[in-house]
Every structure is written in C-alpha cells, then in structure tokens.
Symmetry: C2
Subunit: 399 residues, 2 copies
Amino acid sequence: MVSRRIVLAVALATALSAPALAQQLAPPAVPDLIVQKQVFDMPSYTTLGGQTIRNVRVGYQTAGTLNADRSNAILITHFFSGNSHAFGRFAPGGPPGYWDAIIGPGKAIDTNRFFVISVDTLVNLNTGDPNTTTTGPATTNPDTGRPWGMAFPVVQIGDFVNVQKALVESLGIRRLHAVMGASMGALQAYDWAARHPDMVGRIVPVIAAAEADAFLIGWLDLWAAPIRLDPNWNNGDYYGREPPNRGLATSLALVTMHALHADFINATFGRQPADPARDPAAALDNRFRVQQFLADAGAARARVSDANHFLYLVKANQLFVAGGGTGAEGLARIRAPTLLLYAPTDLVFLESAVERTRAAIAAGGTRVEAHRIEGPRGHLNGIAHIAPLGPRITAFLTQ
Amino acid sequence: MVSRRIVLAVALATALSAPALAQQLAPPAVPDLIVQKQVFDMPSYTTLGGQTIRNVRVGYQTAGTLNADRSNAILITHFFSGNSHAFGRFAPGGPPGYWDAIIGPGKAIDTNRFFVISVDTLVNLNTGDPNTTTTGPATTNPDTGRPWGMAFPVVQIGDFVNVQKALVESLGIRRLHAVMGASMGALQAYDWAARHPDMVGRIVPVIAAAEADAFLIGWLDLWAAPIRLDPNWNNGDYYGREPPNRGLATSLALVTMHALHADFINATFGRQPADPARDPAAALDNRFRVQQFLADAGAARARVSDANHFLYLVKANQLFVAGGGTGAEGLARIRAPTLLLYAPTDLVFLESAVERTRAAIAAGGTRVEAHRIEGPRGHLNGIAHIAPLGPRITAFLTQ
C-alpha cells in the first residue's frame, strides 16, 4: 500500500514538470529525439533595475537546424517550476521534455523544419537538477566567493528575456520565427513581443494573461509565505546549513494544488484515506490520500529546488507587465500575431484575465486567435493536454 | 497614506465576518435589533468518535419569540471564521451581525414572525473575542486544570449539530422550522437534515456542497499548513507562551484570499504599491498593496483566533459528509425541502460541486430550489451579497 502510494505521489509530482504525462500522451511513431544540455555564458549582465551580475550562466537545449538566413528559430520559454527541458530526452528511454508531445521531428512544432531553442531562466527553481543551469541567490557571487543569497538583485521577466536575447543573438539570430511558452513561459512570450517587437515574428502564449493582476500578485505572495515561516530560511541565509525544505515543500504543495482543478483532484483521490488502517476521523494527524499526495509532491520537488530562487521567481512574476510600464502601453506595442491558448478551468490565470489580454491585443489591431485547451487539470492542462492543439499550432506557425 | 492603508485593511479584514459590509448593505429603515450573548452549558458531551468532553459551553443569541407550539424556530449556523453573531447588535450603534441584512424585524427572516437562534460551534476560531463562547483545545480540561491542547478529541460537523440539538431541545423545541447557514454553516444545515430528518422542516444551505471532496480536503490541508510551520506552534503546546500567530496569520490570509474572487481583488487593489515610496521592483521586501492587505487581514484575525482551534476546524470540515457515512447515503436521507443558494464565481465550493449536491438531493425526490448569488466577492458573496436573495428566502420560509 505504501509503495503504491509513493509511486502515485512521485508520478503526480513529476506531472508538474510533466514528462510522465508527455510520455503517455506522445505518439510513439517517431524515434526518440536526443538532446544535449548546453550552457550560455555572459561575462556580465545588467538588470532592468540597473544592477550588474557577473558570470551569468543559463542552460539551454536545441533541436533542428538553423537555416541559411537564420529565420527558422522558435524559442520555447518555461513555466514557474520548469526548466529548458521542453522536448527530447537526454538519453534513449529517458524522461521526455514537458512538451515532447508537440515538439520534435514530424510533430506540431516540427524540428525537421524549425530550429527550436529552450532556455533555463535566471533564478530557476531547480538548482538541484543536474540538467538545469541557472544564476540566482544559490549561485556563488564571484565578488565574494560565497552564494549571493538575498544580496542577489531583483530580476524581472524582462531580465529573463534579455538574457535569452543575448543567447539568440550569439547564435546569429536577428529575428525569432516565434516565441512560445506556458504560464510563466507565456509571460516571457508576451514580454518578448512587447519589449523587442522587431525580433519576434509571432507568439504562442499558453495559459496566461499579459500582466500580473492583484489576484495573481496576492496568490504568489501566499505561495511564498510558507518559506518565510520556516526557521531554517533564516532571512535567506542558509547555504551550507539545513535548507528550509519544510517551508519550501509547503510552497510547492500550494503551487501543485493551485495548478490543478477539482475535476482531476476528485477523480484521482476521492475521500480515500492515505492509509486504510488509519481512519482520518480517529486522530488529527490521520490523513486523506490527497493530503499525502500534496505532502509527497511538495517534498519531492523541494529536494531539487531552492527556497530563495522560489522567492525571486515569485517576485519576477508579481512585477510582470508585458514590456514593463503599464499593461496598456506594453500590449499596444505587441504587433506579433498571437495564438492564445487557455484553459477555461484554470484557477491561476482565470479565463476572464486571459480574455482581457486577448481583447487588449486585438484592440491594437494585432491579429489574435484564441483556443481552449480541454482537460481535467485546470492550469496544468496547458502542459499535460496540449497535444490536441497541435494542428492549430502548426497552422499558426506556417501561415 | 499609512493610516488610509490601515483603515482599508481593517475594513477588509472585518469583511471576513462581514459586519462592515452588512452595515453598508442593510436598509436603515428599522431600528437596531439588540441581542444578548447567552451561554448553553452541557455537563458532558460524547463525540461521534466516542470520546467524552465535560463542561461543554457554547454561546448563542436569539431574536423574536418562540410561539405557543414552539414551531417557529429557525437555527442559523455559522461559517469557518464566524461565530453566532449573525444578526443584531450587542449595543446600539455597535457592529451588526454578518447577516443582519436579512435577519431582524421586518427583514427577509422576520423576527416578528420567527424565533431565530444562532449558536457558536465547538472549536470556534474566535477564542479571543468576548462575544464568542466555545469549547476546544484552548479550553481548560476540567480533569487536568490545564488547556486541552491536542488532547482535545477530534470533533465533526455532526458534533456541532448534536450540541445544537441539545440546546434547541433545552428550549423545548422538537422541530426546527428551518436551518440556514453559509459555507461551514451550510454543512451544518445539510448535516441537520441528514442526521435528524424529523427535526428539520427545511434547509437553506448557502455557498457549499453536501460533502467535503478531495479538492476541499486538499485546500483545507494547505490552509492549515502554515500553522504547523510556525515554531511557536510546538505541536499544539503553546498555551501560556507566545502563540504561533505568524503561522496563524498566514493561514487566515489564505482563507481570506480563497474566499474572495479576482473581480473584487483586482478592482480593489490593482497593481498599486503598498507604499508609493517603496517601488516593489526595487527590493524583494517592497510589496504591492494586495500583499499588505493579506498580511494585515491575517494578523488582525490572528489576534483574536486560536491556532489549534483552526486545525480542529479544518479537520471537522475535511471529515464532513452530510449525515456521516458516504455522501450518497446521507443525501438520500435528506427529506427537508432545500433552498440552495450559491455563487457561480465561488473558488472554495465550485459551482460544479454545488450542482452535484443539488442533483443528488433532487434525485431522492426532495424538492430543491437553487439560485445564484451575484457579486464580485466569489465565496464571500454568500455573506456580503445575500440581501438581494431576501425575497426568495422569505418565500421559501413561508410556503
């Protein structure tokens, strides 16, 4: 019973970065796409806030071939808890990237036709994952020889974008055919279009609006709160000591729950106890299975994540307005045709917020096409149930 | 600026128990209804789990007059963070009860016609409020002379109901004309109808379904998690020491946010900074106004609340199935005509969960009438925007 429970929890925890689901959903027709992790180095980067970070490093992976005029590049930007592993496998039979169902040879985003790049953001959460390379509070500050901790500058979604811009320019690319991402990845896509309109041919923002409204800012605050309650957090000064993983696990459990929907949670767990021998009514600590799932999912994710990076990611998302400034200004600068994919049951980015974004971009005269993603998972439908949108994505990319 | 911020935060924090809103929304035509807090004592109560609690005390208040055949009593049951102060004022000009807009002389629930009783639950949250009387972990255990703490038995919604049953029976009432409550109050209304069908004439469950599904169980788990992270919680043993009010404040901030909706949060706060002199982009700790609101609302509520009571309330809600047993069994026992009021934008009890309850009660042949509560506040519409439903409530109570 215990082992089944653990297997389930791990399977579902993994679903946050979604390779397990992608594995189920991807058609087995084509051979595995093998990708290699690469690292982009910048001697120094100056943030939008005017602070300089030396030795910036971010990971990335590519598939396909850049054509002669370097016009076939598509950039994939990742979600809050994700990384650049959007497609392919690092070894045959290994776990696929989170959007492997739609990216690869012969797939909706066809790597026989497009050169696809996916990049780790600054302050990426997965500092304990060998396939993530990022720069943030957990990184050694070259000026002190110790981790930055809370001395790391505040970074914004626009900083993630500007580091990506340096990378794509280093590859000789002047203009991206498209930028596509889910959730925080969609924020980056909007920001690319608003901040660097001449460099973006089109965008595919998935499950997100073009600014963080008060509702999102408030929820992000609550996501972060458990970390600050953990005494091991110690105002961010915990490197070389016991990390605040109890708080971080609770934060990640909140993200997990918020990214799912009642349809999935109820169908998966019902009112089953975590342990049939321990009736939840018999003692305060006897749990239901959904409680055990949240605890296990949070703990599993916390083991490879960094609490300060979580706080910096929260801040970057809270600060987000496409292109900076006010939402209206940024959206008015978006000229890239937009394919907006959203989940009507999304509890992170409500349909109403996505609709406001759609209307604002359309009001500027830019072509916006919006389609629903169906599925039981709410926000996470944008990762786990993207496959049926494949033909729409292909049509949009090739028109 | 600071004072305006505090005033706003207090006003909004108060909105959780909603007297401020009721004050705005209540028609000023009738003179203040003055109510007095009373206390019901039980020498001992044995829980559904078979454990005995001595010296059980719960507060209650009444309005109107019990008629000769004692057939005109309506019981009002309160929500998670509320208490028995549903109507009237303790002194002229004092804050009104949370449903004062619909309960009083000449109002939808007319106290010139009905004898209305409202009762504090066991393990009520508001242990620091002089107008709340409850029995729970913070109460002195007569056997030890010290607070019960985590030795207090697990209690269920059915225990709240059974203590209420003892109270109404002590008043000579054999059958309630109606039971009505919002959120956790609605759970009590469903439970009354399923557990004591001969004693309930009709029920008015507002903003809730008739069982805690996995989605609710999971969210309640996350509401409780911050308390357990606060080192002052100390496994529930903190009486006479510094209480875990940082954790409790975060838990209450989560409840506050979850009970509201983007429509209200965005219109109220937008992307304004908490302090115009401290740009949120300039430092990790510089906040938006919605963050300050959540912190202030949580802290204000924590000052009069008890963390262990919060955990016991969470447990009672997680265990809830109308009438105990499985949902289907309990709902099949509901014979009381049901007026189900719900908010389509509710993020705690989703419309789909309420609809399942409606269909299940109706399938048993019981008459169910369902109406929407409109407003920007999501779940909290059931408290703050109940007034327009007044005529429907009156018609249902008098047919």
